[in-house]
Symmetry: C2
Subunit: 144 residues, 2 copies
């Protein structure tokens, strides 16, 4: 993992994530697929040690825990069309294991609205073999 | 660590951080003090394995690595007075070790300006005995 360029990963991930989000967000489940594996892993731990699934998405004031609820929430968002425009993207390595922290700020256009809304989104990406998956995701609209 | 309320930690940390930042930011070094220990640890690793200090602050377009540069940057910011107003604060557990991820959005007033500027800031807090310290910090102003 030491040869990974975290800025490049963050850039590629963010581009891919918003392209999928804006074109067909039913496919976003693939990016969270490891949540299912993690969930199974945690389920085994629940049976043996009592620990809970701590994976989370915060979307505005909604906090969702566990793979199934996260994917359902993203797919069920109440709009037909959405377009993300990234203004800033900053990444930092977040652990010696190869975790990456990403802060995105930008604008989004929903359905037929012409005034974009500003948003901030923080991703915590974990390495998974030669790839990465979304472990933490916090999204907030920025109201003036 | 399992009995820690991550929302409460995030709230207390953020309140304390901005109070210090707005009143006397020379004291912020204390919150990053463990960076020095981490730096010494990494220095040992540099000597033995060639790894670098990966602790980082991103402040607008500046990326700073290592304890000394981070503290110097915060102390040298070119304004006399600053006031942070938090609009949203969301936290998530970021690892089984007790890491906490915090996304803050808000407004800040600098010196004698009357129009607040919007900002987003992402903190990655690591447990350190019974306390926490700032491991990652990404700050961005949100321009319209």
């Amino acid at each position: 993992m030491s040869s990974i360029d975290f800025n490049q990963v963050a850039q590629q991930f963010t581009t891919f994530y918003y392209e999928k989000f804006d074109s067909d967000r039913t496919q976003l489940g693939n990016l969270y697929v490891s949540f299912f594996l993690y969930f199974l892993f945690i389920l085994l731990k629940i049976l043996t040690t009592g620990k809970r699934d701590q994976s989370m998405l915060t979307f505005e004031s909604s906090q969702l825990q566990g793979a199934r609820d996260i994917v359902e929430k993203l797919v069920s968002l109440p709009f037909q069309k959405v377009q993300h425009r990234v203004s800033t993207l900053d990444a930092q390595p977040a652990s010696p294991n190869g975790d990456i922290l990403v802060l995105v700020t930008g604008e989004l256009l929903i359905d037929e609205e012409t005034n974009p809304q500003r948003y901030s989104q923080c991703f915590h990406l974990l390495p998974d073999g030669n790839s990465f998956y979304v472990f933490n995701d916090i999204f907030r609209l920025n109201y003036s």
